[in-house]
Amino acid sequence: MRSIGVGAVALMAAAIVMIVLVAPEDADQGISQKIFYFHVPIALTAYACFGLGAWKALRLLWRGGERYDLESYTAIHQGTIFGALTLVTGSIWAKASWGVWWTWSSNQLVLFLVLFLFYCAYFMLRYSVEPGARRERISAVYALFGVALIPVSFFAIRLANDFIHPTVFTREGPQMTDTMFAAFLAGWAAILALAYLMYRVELSGKRTDANLRELREALSS
């Protein structure tokens, strides 16, 4: 875990240097375009976390094993944190570039709102089922539904925009220059490393928790 931590710090430092010093200011949007370098990587990382959670859930259903349940749960927990961050930073960006805190015409933001609701319900479900093999499987099935919901919702929101209102805002500005793209990639690598580090820390905390509980039972018997 130490090497992950060192890597995350190094990548984050590099990303900040790239974003602040190297990447040029966007001709169209000005400085507020710099939100992009963190907002989009955070969103992509949230997808990655949900995907990881579903992958672990699939392994659980396939093979069984408590550790996959814990890993799937931790990944989805991490994804929900990053999803909330996406919503907040996206809202700030919407205010900076369009003057409103929320817009239903931004497909990504709406999708994240749907996913946020969906995965909050995951926690409601998980905490109201007795711990055990059945809860592991129920959580896993729900996590799998999540990755199916992501593309389906994405389509749905695209379709809904056609009849709710035509798209006025587009996020596609002029093409990114090479240094801008490099800064974006650096930001993405940094956020992924941060997310992975957080995932590992959470996981080790939860495993220690489980081990302690076992130890307590063994000692008190």
Binding site: V114, C120, A121, M124, L125, V129, R137, L159
Partner: protein, 213 residues
């Protein structure tokens, strides 16, 4: 008829017969959807137009199906019969399919009254809109009977079902409203069909994991 289909039919018929005897769910759904439509009349401002009414119809349908789905596994739970069913020598996914068909029948019956009532009170429904309703019914019952089985396993039971189902029903509402109001209704019907396919297969394949202890 294969053994699988026979199991499905037997399970669905058991639910329908139970409902005919007890009359728990269907009258409640009927009354609920009619009362909701009346409430919508007062909730819509005068000049709101037909499009808003179509949108509200979909809200009414989703909530009505929630009402039916919340009760879907109650007979099994109260009798402790689900454990027995799971142990019975039939494919577990047949249990899901039987329940889906039964809830589909209830929802369809409620809509047989609700849709003409909507056309009478608010705005006419064309064939595309009705096709949208049918396709959305399939999707919501397929996903809902699985999620309802999850909710029954939890302490909060009926409380947690709307939280699970509403985010998943958003694509259905989009497809349904689009089919009702858009000139290119066919796209939305195709989308609803895609949704049904994806989530029916997923629910069919994963039901076994939800009910086994």
């Amino acid at each position: 008829m294969s053994a699988y289909a026979a199991d499905v039919v037997a399970l669905a018929r058991k639910d329908l017969r139970l409902e005919l005897r007890a009359r728990d769910t269907l009258p409640a759904m009927l009354l609920f959807v009619l009362a909701t439509l009346v409430v919508f009349h007062f909730a819509l401002p005068g000049g709101a137009g037909d499009d808003a009414a179509y949108g509200l119809l979909w809200v009414a349908l989703v909530f009505t199906s929630l009402l039916g789905l919340a009760r879907a596994w109650v007979p099994e739970r109260e009798g402790g019969a689900l454990d027995g069913l799971v142990l019975a020598p039939c494919d577990r996914s047949a249990i899901w399919l039987g329940k889906t068909l039964a809830t589909l029948a209830f929802l369809g019956a409620a809509e047989l009254v609700a849709l003409p009532a909507f056309a009478l009170f608010f705005a006419p429904l064309d064939l595309t809109a009705v096709a949208g309703v049918v396709l959305a019914n399939v999707g919501i019952c397929a996903v809902g009977s699985l999620l309802s089985a999850m909710a029954v396993a939890s302490r909060s039971r009926e409380l947690v079902l709307p939280l699970l189902l509403l985010p998943l029903s958003i694509p259905l509402v989009v497809g349904g409203v689009g089919a009702s109001i858009s000139p290119e209704g066919g796209t939305y019907l195709a989308f609803l069909g895609l949704y049904d396919l994806v989530f029916a297969i997923l629910s069919w394949a994963s039901f076994e994991y939800v009910v086994t202890e």
